[in-house]
Amino acid sequence: MAVLEIHNLTKYYKAHLALDDVSLKLRSGEIVAVIGRSGAGKTTLLRCVNRMIEPSSGRIEFEGVDIRRLGRSALREYRTHIGMIFQHFNLVPRQTVMENVLNGRLGHKSTLAGIAGIYSADEHSMARSVLEQLDLADQAEKRCDQLSGGQKQRVGIARALVQEPRLILCDEPIASLDPRSAKAIMDYLFRISRKMDISILINLHQVDVAIKYADRIVGIREGCVVFDGDPKNLKKRKVAEIYGCDVDDIHFEDSTGGDAMFN
C-alpha cells in the first residue's frame, strides 16, 4: 500500500522552476533515496511533502488524504505523523537530550501542556525506550551542545521517533558527519525502517550510500525526475546524467560493489 503519492508536483520560486512535474510513490516501510546535484530540487521536494514549502501545483496524498487542502490545525495534526531529520540536526542547544526528544511530542499535546513542558509518564517511558534503542540512554541528562555530531543526529532521530511517525523525511542526514558516524546513522535509520515499518524518504549526496541502503533510488536533475528504480539498475551512465558530468568522473561500482567504508 502506498503511504505517500506525489502526482505532478511543480514548484516555482518566482520565475525559477525548482520542481517540474514530479511524480513519486512511497510504499509502507520502503526506503527511497533521492539523489541529485545541489540545487536540483531535492530539499524542495522533501519540504513540499510536509508543506514546510508550499507547492505551486500538483497533488500530494498521504494515506489517501490530499494534504494540500489541509487547514492550519489539520496541517499540524498531519505533521505529527511525519518525522523530519535535518543536516544540521536543529536541536535546541541549551536543552537536555531528554527535553529535545520530548519536543517531538509537542504536536500531540495541548497548547498549555506544551508551553509548560508537562509530559505524561507514558511519554517519558516512551522517550527513554527510544533513547535506549539509539544507545543514548546514558546521555539523557546531558545538554545537547555537549554532544558530538553523530550523537546529535541520533537525538534528532529519537525526536522523530517519539512522534510515532509513519514516514520520516531525512534532509541530507549524514552530510555533516564523519564517515563512521555517517555509517552508524544510516544503519540506525535502516533498522528502524525495517523493524517499525516506517517509510523513509531520504536526500543523499553519496550515490554509494544510496545504493547500499535504499530500496529505490530517485534521481533528480534540474527539478525533473530522470531516474526512478531499483538501485541495481542505476548505471554509471545514468549517474553521470543525473550529476551532469563525465562518465569517467563517476567513482563508484555499479550494481556489484560500493565504497569500502560502507561495506
Binding site: 514546510m52 499540524r76 505533521r79 518525522g83 523530519m84 544540521h88 540536526f89 541549551r94 504536536g107 513542558g117
Partner: protein, 252 residues
C-alpha cells in the same frame, strides 16, 4: 573636508568673541567652580539627611527602577516576539519596529513630562515615562536576540506539528534566556540612573529628589557630595552583581 574644518573654526571663533559673559570674571569663575567641586567631593557631610533616611530614599529609587524594568520587560517580551522577523509575519514586525523606533527617539524626560500632564509631576509620571523609553529599548534588544536564533530549531518544531506558543516556550525562550537577562539587567542599571535624574528633574521621590533639594534649595554642597558618593557606591554594587549573574548564567 578642509572647507568644513575651516567653517567650523570660523564659527567657533565668532562664538567665542560674541559670547555674552554677563560680567562673569572667567578666571575667578573657574576658581570658584573648582572650589565647589572640592567641597562636593572632598568634604561630603550631612546636616539634614540621616543615614537611615538616605538608605530609605535609595530604596525608593531602586524600587522605582525595579518597577520600570519589570513593567517594560513584560511588555517588551510580547512586543519583541511579535517584532522578530523569524517569529511573526513581516508587516507586523515592520510596524512594531517603526513604532518602537519613534518611542525610542523621544527623550525619556519628554516622556515623563507627557505623562505628567495626566498624572502630575511625581513618581507616577516618572515610572510611566521612563517605562516608555525602556520599552523602546528592550523591545529592540529582545527582538534582535530572537532573530539571532538558529531558524532551523524553529523549523524542526514546526515539522513535529508544534504550534507557535509551544515553539516560543520550548525553543525560543530557553535558547535566548541568557541574552534576555543580560539586556534586562543592563537596562535596569540605566533605569536606576534615570530615576535618580528624574527625582531631581521631575520631582519623583527617591534619592534624586534629595539631590535636587540639597543643591538648589539648601545650597548644601557637602550633602550633594555625600549623595553623589552614595549613588556611585550603589551603581558599583549593581555592576558587581550584574557581572556575577552573567557569569552564573554562562555556566548553565
Amino acid at each position: 573636508m578642509w572647507a568644513t574644518v575651516a567653517a567650523l573654526a570660523a564659527i567657533t571663533a565668532y562664538g567665542l568673541f560674541t559670547l555674552d559673559s554677563n560680567g562673569v570674571n572667567i578666571p575667578d569663575a573657574i576658581g570658584e567652580t573648582l572650589r565647589n567641586f572640592r567641597t562636593i567631593f572632598l568634604h561630603p557631610e550631612s546636616r539634614r539627611l540621616s543615614a537611615g533616611a538616605a538608605a530609605w530614599e535609595l530604596l525608593l529609587t531602586v524600587a522605582q527602577a525595579i518597577l520600570i524594568t519589570l513593567f517594560s520587560g513584560l511588555v517588551s517580551l510580547g512586543l519583541g516576539l511579535l517584532g522578530a522577523r523569524n517569529l511573526a509575519p513581516k508587516p507586523l514586525t515592520q510596524a512594531i519596529k517603526a513604532v518602537i523606533a519613534v518611542v525610542r527617539a523621544i527623550p525619556s524626560i519628554l516622556w515623563v513630562l507627557i505623562f505628567a500632564v495626566a498624572a502630575g509631576l511625581g513618581s507616577t509620571a516618572a515610572v510611566l515615562g521612563l517605562s516608555m523609553h525602556s520599552i523602546g529599548y528592550l523591545t529592540k534588544a529582545y527582538a534582535e536576540s530572537f532573530e539571532s536564533l538558529d531558524y532551523g530549531v524553529v523549523e524542526a518544531l514546526q515539522a513535529v506539528g508544534a504550534n507557535w506558543w509551544q515553539i516560543v516556550f520550548q525553543a525560543v525562550l530557553p535558547s535566548s534566556s541568557t541574552y534576555l537577562l543580560s539586556w534586562t539587567f543592563l537596562r535596569f542599571e540605566m533605569n536606576f540612573t534615570n530615576v535618580v535624574a528624574m527625582g531631581a528633574a521631575a520631582g519623583a521621590a527617591g534619592i534624586g529628589f534629595d539631590l535636587f533639594m540639597a543643591s538648589s534649595l539648601y545650597f548644601d554642597l557637602g550633602e550633594l557630595g555625600l549623595i553623589t558618593y552614595f549613588v556611585l557606591a550603589f551603581a558599583i554594587l549593581l555592576e558587581i552583581v550584574a557581572i556575577r549573574v552573567k557569569a552564573v548564567l554562562k555556566e548553565r
